[in-house]
Amino acid sequence: MIAKVLLTIWMTVIIVAAFLYADAAVGFPGETSRILFFHVPQAWVATLSFLLSMIASCVYLARRNLKADYLALSAAELGLLFCLLATASGSIFAKAAWGSFWNWDPRQTSIVILLMIYGAYFALRSAVGDPEKRRVFAAVYSILAFVTVPFLVFVVPRITASLHPEDTMNPAKPGMDPKTLKVFLGSLLAYTGLFIWILRLRLRLLNLEGMQEPEFVVTEKMDLEGEKQ
């Protein structure tokens, strides 16, 4: 409980610091670079949750315990949410810094492709009726999609960058003077904390739903009883 209160305070500190304490990075019009204290952690959490969902999927395929699937599902849901946030904040920044909401800069392409993978993941989950098959297929797909991510990270920037000669400086890391770095890392920590907080809430909800299923012979393999959180 205390952790959540601390996290709330910490995030507030970060928000204030992002606007007052840190100063705007050079090379960007006016104060626009400040959004990066929020945009980059969002993208970071989206990728982190995709990785977590993939690992949970591997665990599910290996041991077929329901908890792993719940984790894979909630991580994917949160990943999609943060991916949308990152795309939105990214295009706001693009509008302010380069004048156009969308110009397929390598960072934007990778985020959109991640968005499409999540979209496909949930399309697959909703298209398979049998619960057992749905969980296996979703797990297999998230592993397959994860395997293509390294190609995206290395292939897309190298190729799309050269496709757009007027590609300007990569906005990922603004000029990292110590003050900005402190706030940036703090924000990264805050967002990761927020991610874990919401994830746990979502997991507890899924467990509650899981318990609603009718009383039937429950095997030790499928332990639906939530062990003490």
Binding site: K4, M11, E31, I198, L201, M211
Partner: protein, 42 residues
């Protein structure tokens, strides 16, 4: 330029406090649900 920042800061803080508050409510609601369901199960 500065006062523009204060406005944006204010908006962000309001959004964040709303979100945090919502999360705390969710937390309590789920805890209550968990108690009732574990009670029913015993």
């Amino acid at each position: 330029m500065k006062e523009g920042l204060n406005f944006v800061l204010g908006v962000n803080l309001i959004i964040w406090s709303g979100l945090a508050f919502y999360l705390f409510i969710l937390d309590r609601k789920i805890k209550k649900l968990e108690e009732t369901s574990t009670a029913r199960r015993k």
